[in-house]
């Protein structure tokens, strides 16, 4: 059986997220529980979480989470890391042995800082440099896979149901101001852990539900800019698109949403002039980054979340709030699990982004 990257595997999913607008910390307990009522949206072939604000002691370093098939890959990979980074800490990510999760790889965590002299000589900014090293490891070191690479955040994922994956990674012991979760329903997969979601690059993580029809158009475009879609999954390509538009092109999250879920030309035509011109411009400049087919995604980033449905709203997505918290999930039941008294529950329109940012200075 082929793993992700060797063949394209469509999948359906459950997604869930919570964020505190004031940056108040929460353990992973609630987000794990939220996945239980959506159990049947996953099929046990992958689950995962992303957590923001969890490494306050290393908040200025990049936290790399890496899967290794065996210990020999560690040496090979660490050689690359040492060539490029100052490694301030390296450790095995602590896990809980549970019968539901088996066949585990070696899972390491490194806190790193790029060498300033290298950045200068390569004329690269820090983030671009990190992206290139991550791409290098993931494409060149067979058996090593960087699945998380942002500052003060981390992705945790594995084969299995999401609620078991959360337990396995001891996420109840982490505290973050924002969490996203994903339960996967792939049509087929040997259960390679790297293929589970969220998918992350720098601090951008995506959890996503749906099987997009624009995949290869998006992939072949984004690969022009140094990204390599090694997993052939929708989530991977959407993450790269977000990174390209937000980080490299400097678009706002709203603008990014109107590229990937661009309004129909008819809708654009009826907008007020200034907005019309802007929407038209964005759609004309980035036609190949329009994503079609069903999707609901939650994009996590340092300081916020963005939730977005495809423009026909072919997937379910519900938003609710309570006090400082905002909840997003595939089903209302998941939100009610996190807070039974959640208010203002609604389903955003197709293509209408929901962007929640933590108050400045609070994360």
């Amino acid at each position: 059986m082929y793993k992700e990257g060797e063949v394209r595997i469509p999948s359906g999913c459950a997604i869930s997220a919570v964020i505190s607008r004031y940056g108040n910390k929460m353990t992973g307990e609630k987000i794990i529980e939220s996945m239980i009522p959506m159990h049947d949206r996953s099929n046990g072939l992958g689950g995962g979480f992303a957590a923001y604000g969890i490494y306050p002691d290393h908040k200025d370093e990049y936290a790399l989470h890496i899967f290794f098939n065996d210990k020999y890959r560690i040496e090979e990979c660490e050689r690359i890391l040492k060539d490029n980074f100052e490694i301030t800490k390296a450790e095995i990510i602590p896990t809980r042995k549970i019968p539901e999760i088996t066949d585990e790889p070696i899972i390491m965590r490194y806190f790193v800082l790029p060498f300033a002299s290298l950045l200068k000589s390569l004329q690269l900014d820090e983030k671009e440099f990190v992206v290139r090293v991550v791409m290098k490891i993931n494409t060149e070191v067979n058996g090593a896979y960087v699945f998380s690479s942002g500052k003060n955040m981390g992705a945790f994922k594995a084969g299995g149901f999401p609620e078991d994956v959360g337990k396995y990674y001891k996420l109840d012991e982490y505290e973050g101001y924002a969490w996203t979760a994903h339960g996967r329903y792939p049509t087929n997969t040997p259960g390679w852990w790297g293929g589970a979601h969220p998918f992350g690059l720098l601090d951008y993580t995506i959890v996503h539900n749906g099987d997009i029809s624009s995949y290869d158009a998006n992939r072949r475009f984004i690969e022009m800019f140094g990204y390599k879609c090694t997993l052939q999954t929708d989530t991977e390509v959407i993450t790269y698109i977000a990174d390209y538009l937000v980080r490299r092109q400097g678009l706002s999250f709203e603008e990014t949403a109107s590229v990937i879920a661009a309004p129909f030309w008819k809708t654009i035509k009826n907008k007020p002039e200034k907005e019309r011109e802007k929407l038209k411009y964005l759609r004309m400049v980035f036609p190949s980054l329009l994503i079609t087919g069903p999707f609901s995604i939650i994009l996590g980033f340092n300081g916020g979340l963005m939730a977005l449905n495809d423009r026909l709203k072919l997937r379910s997505m519900v938003v609710g709030e309570k006090d400082d918290k905002v909840f997003i999930a595939s089903e209302e039941a998941a939100i009610r699990t996190m807070d039974i008294n959640a208010e203002n529950i609604y389903s955003p329109m197709g293509g209408e982004p929901v962007i929640i940012k933590v108050k400045e200075g609070k994360y």
Binding site: P10, L251, M284, V285, L312
Partner: protein, 501 residues
């Protein structure tokens, strides 16, 4: 009779029981096939003149006529076909270069027919194009590589001029002179009603058609016929013709017999004088010279028109396209070896160039590998025959398609491939006023609109079945394609998997 006698290729079969001697066939045939025999009081035919254009068949009021391929055959073998033998006789008799028209008719692989299209089942939904929005609009032109903002953080519109098309199909270059006034008028009227563009070809633009300027691409070829400042300003875009799929590396040559009246004035050469387009542009002997021509046209039109560079698909097309993408051109048009022509040496037409499907795949891949696909839009032509071909071309990576032969068929062309004779009974490839009149531009444009409307529906059906509701998401989406009966090399070049994979 004699050594150079060749039995007619076609026979006219007349059902004498139905024939009323109305002589309609005689009036319809500019080649002079039909005549009335006063002694016998019946219609007879000189079949040696017949090109099988089906005009008489279509216009016989009693349906008394049919044209059949003659069964008078040589002793053929697999190596020496009848066609090959006849060609030798013709050359031995005349000493002439064989001259043909329309596209390569030979049995070479048609890759479009070896590609199958995907559809959604279960994992994502198909979309019903009759009820849900389905977008086919495209913009052609260079896209900026980065977003610029003003001091207030507002995005600055830094887009260079773009061509807006309601569907990714345009009418290919066919010059006034090689085709008739009414053909151009039909194409221009249809393009403006459809929200697409037609292309003047290299013969200039008749003054009557300046009103269709917003739906016109004006072409500049090596002969520079009819090229002047007003002409360059007239269209929405300018196309530099470097080559043509039907005759790569060969120039154009419109015989003096077609340079009459308005054609002469439009081309600005005297009546009866041959219109010769040399094979190369004599100011372009190298790729940096192309940049010079591109920018001279931009300067002359104050950077308001996108520049298209049209080339034939030859072996090294990917590298050539990459050079063009860096020349300042906004759009590249590649024309495959099945593309039509009003006249081309037979040997060139049938032996030079490569299939557009392979060229397109190679060009799109190369431009992406170099990270410059966004610098340029890609139009493909050279026998796009149906909506299915359009969808496959877009999925392979094209932004839009040119159709030439298909458009002429809509106007009545029966593909008799005798354009070079100038006696087109359908009023298309002729300058004879009596024949030109036969093509009614109102009806012609209506038929073109019908064809494009039908294709648009079909394109939407394909997209809907793939779960794609905007053509942008189909462009370059090769995962939607599978090969059938292709070898690994062919699949690699096309960048697609085999059916079943």
């Amino acid at each position: 009779m004699s050594i150079d006698y060749i039995y007619s290729e076609f026979e006219v079969v007349r059902n004498q029981n139905r024939c009323t001697n109305c002589r309609a066939c005689e009036k319809q045939c500019a080649n002079g096939v039909h005549y009335f025999d006063n002694d016998k009081k019946i219609m007879l035919a000189d079949e040696s003149k017949c090109v099988n254009c089906q005009r008489c068949v279509s216009f016989c009021p009693t349906h008394a006529l049919k044209i059949v391929k003659s069964d008078c055959s040589f002793r053929e073998n697999a190596n020496w076909s009848e066609q090959t033998i006849k060609e030798i006789y013709k050359q031995a008799n005349s000493g002439g270069v064989l001259l043909s028209s329309m596209g390569n008719p030979n049995k070479l692989p048609v890759y479009f027919d070896r590609i199958l299209i995907n559809a959604s089942q279960v994992t994502n939904p198909s979309i019903d194009p009759l009820r849900e929005p389905m977008e086919t609009k495209v913009f052609l032109g260079k896209k900026p590589s980065s977003i610029k903002r003003d001091e207030n953080g507002e995005i600055i519109n830094n887009l260079t001029p773009q061509l807006e098309l309601s569907i990714p199909v345009m009418f290919a270059a066919m010059s006034y002179g090689s085709v008739s006034y009414n053909t151009h008028k039909s194409l221009a009227m249809a393009a403006s009603k459809l929200g697409i563009l037609y292309n003047t070809g290299e013969g200039g633009l008749h003054e009557d058609f300046y009103v269709y300027g917003d739906n016109t691409i004006v072409q500049v070829a090596s002969g520079r016929f009819g090229v002047h400042e007003k002409y360059l300003e007239a269209g929405k875009a300018i196309e530099i013709k470097m080559g043509q799929g039907a005759k790569p590396g060969i120039g154009g040559h419109l015989p003096g017999t077609k340079i009459v009246g308005d054609v002469s004035r439009t081309r600005m050469i005297p009546e009866g004088s041959d219109a010769i387009s040399p094979a190369p542009h004599h100011d372009i002997y190298s790729i940096e010279d192309l940049r010079q021509l591109v920018y001279s046209l931009k300067e002359a039109t104050k950077y308001k028109k996108p520049i298209i560079v049209k080339v034939a698909t030859v072996h090294n097309i990917a590298a050539i396209a990459s050079g063009i993408a860096r020349s300042g051109a906004d759009i590249i048009a590649i024309d495959g070896f099945r593309g039509g022509t009003g006249a081309a040496p037979t040997r060139i037409r049938d032996n030079v160039g490569i299939p557009v499907e392979l060229a397109l795949a190679a060009v799109d891949k190369r431009l992406r590998a170099e990270g410059i696909r966004n610098n340029i839009s890609l139009i493909v032509g050279g026998s796009i025959r149906s909506a299915a071909d359009v969808v496959k071309a877009i999925a392979l990576g094209a932004d839009a398609c040119y159709i030439g032969t298909a458009a002429l068929l809509a106007l009545g062309c029966h593909l008799c491939r005798a354009c070079q004779i100038g006696k087109c009974n359908w009023g298309i490839a002729t300058q004879n006023p009596e024949l030109v009149k036969r093509l009614d531009p109102e009806l012609g444009s209506k038929r073109l609109i019908n064809l494009m409307t039908a294709w648009k529906h079909e394109i939407k059906e394909f997209m809907g079945s793939m779960g794609i509701n905007s053509i942008e998401a189909l462009r370059g989406n090769r995962l939607m394609l599978r090969g059938i009966g292709l070898n690994q090399k062919e699949l690699d070049i096309l960048g697609i998997s085999h059916a079943g994979e």
